[in-house]
Symmetry: none
Subunit: 402 residues, 2 copies
């Protein structure tokens, strides 16, 4: 049953749903038979919520599939992660609030360093200063002009990361990336993946060459590596599909991008978890769906730092009473994917989830952890179905059939 | 894998399968951490069956979807509940044994009361007496004639409920209902939901007007509200799909309707659970699949009466030895959906199921209840797959592939 089916059943009411997303929450023990990060963390508040709520495990994309953050987040919000998968360029563009236009081609770009042999010496140009990045983007915008494309935009993201946009021309996202994803090799030539993309591939080769000319005398940032191509895609909004008035509380462009593409309002920039919770409290009266994104859990997992990931989880637990005080009708705590510290990266393991509402049936999970979730009443379900379960507990879905 | 796949694997043998369906069986505790109706009920016979059999949980339509009785029953019998979803009108018509003809339009009708402002004062006309309903249907049949439709039938169901059938004309089920589903408002005009349905909508508006003229002087039943439109749809039979010779033991038109549409034979009318079990015993030699429908569990759930739903379950448990004595090869005990008394209506929660056969693998469920079913060997599966599991345990499915 596809994810569109649900739209016909949606009814509106004033019930409120909170999705508290600890990025990369799922984990692994440090030694065989040990405890995961979530199981190691002392989380009395989440445990009491697990005891009264319903637990389970979510597969972001499918059994054995390690998801990127984009597809995982689409799944969280009830969008089929395969059908709605798009290149990272579009997510970045939306996250930066770049004005999106049909026909655009969006790319993620890294400033990088080439050595004298033309091989990549540093894929991040020594984690370029953001201010320097801004200066270079201005210089590139002024000097890079392509034959077959009307406009080229260079937008600073942070450190070595930027967004490049081609506008005006018959552009295709079906071209190969110029970033070889490792050092010691030259940048790759963009190639057409389908015959219709030949013109775009030629334009991107021209783009790469002109960027190198402009950056030729830079010491660190003397090249740009391009990837994550995406054209413009529009998405049915959460308001239209689910009748929700959603607010996103997130600080990274990627997550803000997904939220914007799905029509969520964005809370003003926050920098700490405490600020995020305060933003929730401050805006609670004005929305009925809240997405709170906690990045630290994933970052510490990516760092391979088990102890710090545990601490990040404990930090969130300590703030739960402020969320409890709002008495949300449905409170969901989960992650978008697993990032076990021992793997120092995203993994394919299913993600623990906890849903609390008055209509929860008791289950055997009395703490919040991966093993306990195996005994949870939600079972193990595709992540894209989480939203419908939350809507159901909020009384926002009418009966199917007579 | 779709529900048609299984047909190619079916083989016939003389093994017998019983589906004992307690309508609305699944429930919720009255307070957080408490027990559900099924868990509260003292059910020594079902518990012993759970201990030796295999337990699990069924999703009638899908995660988070609250099913109507129609789709839930189609799923029970192995029919995809979305693909085979039809308007309630057809189920009522089949249940009343109305002779179905291709091209008919079937509608559920309520006699209702309009006040002097033309607003609905009572959607059930004071739960009209069935005898009065019959008199009015005769009067309507004699006096209501439509321009674009050859025949109109009015068939009494029970109390305020009736079936209305249009026959002879190019009719579409894609029109809007005239029942606003609440009091204090006027009946709605039927409208076309697709351009091709304009003629039907006009005919139903004419129908509504003429019914009001005929009923104008009635004190209570001075209007009919129309809904649940359905054309004629035919269904592949259980005999054809599964090689079964099925008998339905049910007393409500809706369930008899589903059974007839799937080609089941119907046992003579019964009024108590004891009578239903007696009908099973009396007919046991002549069929190989038995569907026994117990309505009381759902009715008490709909009433919001936890204690009486518990008693209804205990009543069924007390009669189980009579079923055990038949030594069926496969005995399935489950519901069509959940009707928690605390919600006083259908819900989206998965439905506990128990399957007993010689080929059951042991599991950790030693009592029959929602929490115990979480540890059951069947896991949590779509309800439409229950039938194939039952067929498999009955040795009625051959190996797939070499």
């Amino acid at each position: 049953m596809d994810t569109e089916f649900i739209e016909r059943l949606v009814i509106q009411n004033d019930k409120k749903i909170i999705f508290l997303i600890m990025d990369g929450l799922g984990g692994l023990p440090q030694e065989t038979g040990g405890k995961t990060e979530l199981e190691t963390a002392v989380t009395p508040n989440l445990d009491s919520l697990a005891a009264s709520g319903t637990c389970g495990l979510l597969d972001p994309v499918g059994c054995g599939i390690t998801p990127g953050s984009g597809p995982a987040h689409f799944a969280l919000f009830g969008y089929d992660p395969v059908k709605y998968n798009v290149g990272r360029g579009l997510l970045s563009a939306a996250g930066l609030d770049f004005p999106l236009v049909q026909g655009d081609l969006y790319m993620r770009a890294n400033f990088a360093t080439l050595n004298k042999f033309g091989h990549i010496a540093d894929r991040r140009a020594g984690r370029l200063e953001t201010e320097k990045n801004k200066l270079l983007c201005i210089k590139l915008k002024a000097n890079v002009h392509l034959q077959a494309v009307k406009e080229v935009f260079f937008v600073t993201e942070k450190e070595h990361r930027a967004l490049v946009v081609l506008r005006g021309g018959k552009l295709s996202e079906q071209i190969s990336e110029t970033d070889p994803q490792r050092t010691g090799e030259p940048p790759l030539d963009a190639k057409a993946l389908i015959p219709e993309a030949e013109n775009t591939a030629a334009a991107v080769r021209e783009l790469s060459d002109k960027i190198r000319e402009v950056l030729a005398k830079e010491e660190k940032a003397n090249v740009m590596l391009l990837r994550g191509y995406s054209g413009f895609h529009s998405f049915p909004s959460m308001a239209g599909r689910f009748g929700l008035k959603p607010l996103a509380i997130a600080s990274y462009p990627m997550y803000k991008g997904v939220a914007r593409l799905l029509g969520m309002s964005l809370a003003p920039e926050t920098s700490t978890i405490e600020d995020e919770i305060q933003a929730l409290v401050a805006n609670y009266a004005n929305y009925d769906f809240f997405y709170i994104h906690i990045k630290a859990t994933d970052s510490r997992g990516e760092d391979g730092n088990f102890a710090e990931k545990v601490k990040a989880i404990e930090k969130v637990d300590s703030l739960m009473p402020e969320i409890f005080a709002l008495k949300p009708d449905v409170l969901v705590v989960t992650g978008d994917h697993s990032t076990p510290a021992v793997m120092a990266g995203h993994s394919f393991h299913p993600v623990p989830v906890l849903l609390a509402a008055k209509t929860c049936r008791p289950d055997a999970a009395t703490t919040f952890g991966e093993s306990a979730c195996l005994m949870g009443g939600l079972g193990r379900i595709p992540m894209k179905y989480l939203m419908r379960v939350a809507l159901a507990h909020a009384g926002k879905l009418q009966k199917f059939g007579a």
